[in-house]
Symmetry: C2
Subunit: 338 residues, 2 copies
């Protein structure tokens, strides 16, 4: 492996000069800089990460805690994780992948060993066990998700409450009066996952304001579960003319089952989903939806956490991304008979 000392010798300068060329922390004459940069290129030099971290107390690594759950529909999570990794690289950072398995323990380990300069936490519960630790941690942390109490924390999330409200509003605007919500798996609520509860709260609030009848049922992504939920819904509320789908895994089964039961979408029943663009656009009936902007969430989280690492940015900052509802083919005016 090529070392900084070898680069220095090759360029005929001192080691510190090479270091300053690389970091830009002191001004260096153009001639010297060029000579050094040439040597770096010629020798194929890469600074040793360990040595750099030790000397500067900065690892240029951001830890990312991803959930290790099977009941969470993974594509959004994966998309966010990839967006985080990509954004981090553009700022010269690498991503250390922590599975949720270690839990709070991992935060302590990362902090103690100085492995990472900061932590980004996904899949945050309203009352997450990791919050106290993150509040007092010596390293910056940013949550992707919104807990109940955000004091002393930085968060990035879609404004799911507003998303829920938008769904209710859009359906009300089309004349729908009875709406059913195909929720997330029961386990997701039991864990008190923020986005699920907030979407629901937004739906309920706006529905109340608009005088809509709302029925909410948790539902897993499997065909069988959607089928059972659907039967129950129509049994309890035969007048339902619209669905809001929270669980993105349920969209395909729902559309298939509606078709099977002789209900046309959107003529007989409207469907609105909260899900990634791709899922909405590629459904058997392209879905009117509020997008979960995975890319933007990942990018914003990285920007925020780097601002904190660099000492810019507030200690406490909540970024709520405005939801955007895109009308596709799954919604229409409520049927006249309803």
């Amino acid at each position: 492996m090529v070392t900084l000392a070898e680069v220095a010798r090759h360029a005929g300068v001192s080691a510190s000069t090479v270091s300053y060329v690389l970091s830009g922390k002191r001004s260096i004459s153009a001639a010297t800089r060029e000579r050094v940069e040439n040597s770096v290129r010629q020798l194929g030099y890469h600074p040793n990460a360990g040595a750099r971290a030790l000397a500067s107390s900065k690892s240029n690594i951001i830890a990312l805690m991803v959930p290790l759950r099977t009941d969470m529909y993974v594509p959004v999570m994966m998309e966010i994780a990839m967006a985080v990794a990509t954004a981090a690289r553009t700022h010269g950072y690498d991503i250390l992948l922590l599975t949720g398995e270690e839990g709070a323990q991992a935060v302590r380990r990362i902090e103690g060993s100085a492995l990472a300069d900061a932590v980004i936490v996904m899949d945050v519960q309203l009352d997450d066990e990791r919050l106290p630790l993150l509040r007092t941690a010596s390293r910056p942390a940013v949550l992707i998700g919104l807990p109940s109490d955000t004091s002393g924390l930085s968060c990035v999330d879609l404004d799911f409450a507003a998303a829920g409200a938008e769904c209710a509003q859009a359906l009300a605007d089309l004349g729908h009066r009875e709406i059913a919500v195909i929720g997330e798996a029961a386990a997701v609520y039991e864990r008190r996952t923020g986005f699920a509860e907030r979407t629901l709260a937004g739906l309920r609030e706006r529905s109340a304001e608009l005088g809509l009848r709302l029925l909410h049922r948790p539902c897993e992504g499997s065909y069988a579960s959607v089928s059972a939920t659907l039967a129950r819904v129509f049994d309890e509320r035969p007048g339902v003319t619209a669905f809001v789908v929270q669980n993105e895994a349920a969209t395909d089964p729902l559309l298939a089952l509606l078709r099977q039961s002789g209900r046309a979408v959107p003529e007989d029943v409207s469907v609105v989903a909260v899900c990634p663009e791709q899922v909405a656009a590629h459904a058997s009936v392209p879905l009117t939806s509020v997008a979960v902007p995975a890319q933007e969430m990942g990018r914003r989280a990285v920007e925020q956490v780097i601002a904190k690492i660099e000492g810019r940015g507030a200690d406490e900052e909540v970024v709520l991304i405005e939801p955007e509802l895109t009308v596709r083919e799954s919604t229409a005016q409520a049927p006249a008979g309803a």
Copy 2:
């Protein structure tokens, strides 16, 4: 941050003794060991990762290159990645997440900076541009996937050729003579992704042996794409009584469309898929399938790469996991009329 020197002082021993207690590389008396371990616990000591890496030339980090593609169905990839991360932790390693975006560049960077002790590469193409670099790299590499030329490489993969053969065999055993393969997206073949081609090769070979008529069509995961593919298949081969699905995203649309077109599964048409257990088990008709053992693949790759890091294990080792076909409800005897 607590340092090793502070632990040493607290325990009344030298720094090197603390180091040897931690690493176990020299024998230490029980009494001293206990005293040191106590101090470590009391002070909440975590070794500084950078210092350790610098002194020992070992980072205890494994880099994982995951694909950054949108045409690959992600759940398997995510499951493998998580399995890798979990397995790595049980061996005391962390995972550095590299997106495919950087490509071969990333391998060079990791190697030069000594950021990771080894690399695990996912989404390998038959003729992958990263292979030459991986062959000559000074650090161990393990591929999850199988390129055409495995010389000088270590690989872990499902034996997709055998998986394809098993699918053909199972359908032949049930009396099916005409089979259609719903393939991966065309782009997947264009990239010459190993698993897609090998599955197909296995299917073709065994079909030829058994005298089956085989029709293969690439297909994207969207409803529209499956619909078009299906129409074409029945147009070109009206006698088809069985499907093999390679693209796991296509399973749900396929089942829905068959149902819609009045074909009962498995009475009129049998369906076999190559996909993760979960997808097969939760489909609207539980699918007879060959599982993609994501967990095992991740675990084996980690074990292999760690063996190499520790100097055990061969330079070149190809682990092909035996496929297992599980019969569920989507297959039956070929209809008599066919």
